[in-house]
Amino acid sequence: MIKKVLVANRGEIAVRVMRSCREMGLTTVAVYSDVDRTAMHVRYADEAFAIGPSPSAESYLRMDKIIDVAKKSGADAIHPGYGFLSENAAFAELCEQEGIAFIGPSPFAIKTMGDKITARKTMIKAGVPVVPGTTEPIKDTKTAIEVINEIGLPVMIKASAGGGGKGMRLVKTEKEIINAISAARSEAKAAFGDDAVYIEKYISSPHHIEFQVLGDKHGNVVHLFERECSIQRRHQKVVEETPSPILNHEVRMKMGADAVAAAKAVNYYGAGTIEFIVDDDLNYYFLEMNTRLQVEHPITERVVGVDLVKQQINIANGMELSFRQEDLKQHGHAIEVRIYAEDPDNNFMPSPGIIKHISEPLGLGVRHDGYVYEGYEIPIYYDPMISKLIVWSESRDEAIARLKRALYAYKITGVKTSIPYLHRILEVPDFVKGRYNTHFIEENKEYLQPKQNCVDQCMEVAAITAFIDYINKLEQLQPARPDKHLGNNWKDLGRKRSVLRY
């Protein structure tokens, strides 16, 4: 049985994994890059080991160093979190060879699902619907053009080895074809070292809906229902919710069964996610499988009532799943938003820096998964996500109201954040109605523009507050000189009351 877990990650997910480890009585080991010495995962862990310079290629992606720390610390398992080495089959294999439990799926499952074309073939064989398109990687432009003519426009060109939107091109008209193919191929080459692409029918008005699955090493696989992730900016999810506002019970059950079939096709064990693309008529197609924990897993945890990290660890321990499909139900509605250190009013420019002040939202139905603290400097080397705010309520409407209330109380100064932008999303009529697809952000640009909410009084009070701070500070700098112009009744008592008591 696992006793000591090395978490090969940083940020909120490292802390989140360690929380579940702590609840299970397991010792935790953190690894950290130079810039992360003061990061929360180092402070939260029982033990911490330095693994090199700040760029992740020299630290968090260095398998040798991580295995080395596992041995030195006596960790008997490694949790990879998401990103970094989490979907690296070679790393999973290396752990196996070194006798360290990899808390994740088998190298075979990672490999099969990691290659989009192999995954597609496997799904076709398993009877899971896929988007019409090529089954073989295309390595030259001529074949690509032939295939596109066969499928019919619009089509999407995607890097075979890709992810995260890199090497992707939408082609709507004939004259774009050649440029799009060569652009996609060169981007794929640069990003993944492989210029193979594949071509798919493009679904206009697509919904991105994914199913959480859990499988054990005894062949049992269940799904934990869906997550609606259609609100994306540059292929990055911004808001996720469950249940999906567009699914009905019948389609949900059919998609769930297909998700289970997809996982079973690769003898999947661990936590994984089957991503589907769904059109307005609720036709759905397998998109890809993420063979790891997802950023947005908390909404599933909240609605289904299962701690997914604990399940991952139990599965890695060889235990059987403690529930069957029919034991699982969806209760109420959960929404997650991702708070980034970025400036939404300035082209989403990343905004690293020192957190000067933070007030976290509290109360009924609010979960907050973060890792920053006052005085912490968000480094420039990694993803600028600060935290995830997850709310739950009985109904979707109440969940939206609760999320607004939580965002209202969530204050961070020192860095710019996406909080005002998230607020605006929640006000967009299409979102309120639950009628949106992956074009949501693009189609609602107008609504998402920064609006000055407060005028007159509010702006004047803002200016006056700065002025008061200025004259107070001035006063403190000149304690001996009585400032006659500062008005009457200047009393010690008053002065004491108006300065911060520390």
């Binding site: 002040h357 420039i380 600028p384 009084q457 009070v461 507050t465 002025f467 701070d469 108006s498 911060l500």
Partner: protein, 168 residues
């Protein structure tokens, strides 16, 4: 003694009429506010004005007279203009305005420079690309401009607020 104060692009006159403890009587553009102001957390003021409750966050700007002021949903740049500031503002005009520089707002790495000194660029064209936090940011010009000087080269690391390109 009234002060001049700049709120985003607006100029206003602010005057402290009286004060007792945390109660202030302040006129802004001749409109008088009676308010109670207490710094309750570091940089966070609780303001009661006419029984309305405001939480105002102050973030220090580039100097002790500049603030970024956050209200519930908005953010304002506020600058107290005293004699020294006025002098500096006049002086700055002589050596070229801020708008004539492309400045990196954060630490990062110069990925590409798309023009060379003397080139003419059109409104909306990208001049320089900087990478930070796994993302590339493109810096464009808003109007037709000429590249006057380039202060960095591709591959350079830049700090926050470092001028990179001077345009005119």
């Amino acid at each position: 003694m009234p002060y001049e104060i700049k709120i985003n692009e607006h100029l206003a006159t602010v005057d402290l009429l009286s004060r007792e403890g945390s109660s202030y009587l302040i006129a802004i553009n001749n409109k008088v506010y009676e308010l109670d102001a207490i710094e309750v957390e570091r940089g966070v003021y609780s303001i009661l004005s006419d029984n309305r409750s405001f939480n105002i966050e102050l973030v220090a700007g580039k100097d002790s007279k500049s603030y970024i002021v956050n209200t519930q949903y908005d953010s304002f740049n506020v600058k107290i203009i005293d004699a020294e500031t006025k002098y500096q503002m006049n002086r700055r005009k002589d050596i070229g305005e801020d708008d004539n520089m492309i400045v990196s707002p954060m630490p990062g790495k110069v990925v590409r420079i798309l023009f060379k000194e003397g080139d003419k660029v059109k409104a909306g064209e990208t001049v320089i690309i900087v990478s930070a936090m796994k993302m590339e940011s493109e810096y464009k010009v808003k109007q037709d401009r000429t590249i006057k000087r380039i202060l960095v080269k591709e591959g350079d690391s830049v700090n926050s607020d470092q001028p990179m390109v001077i345009i005119e």
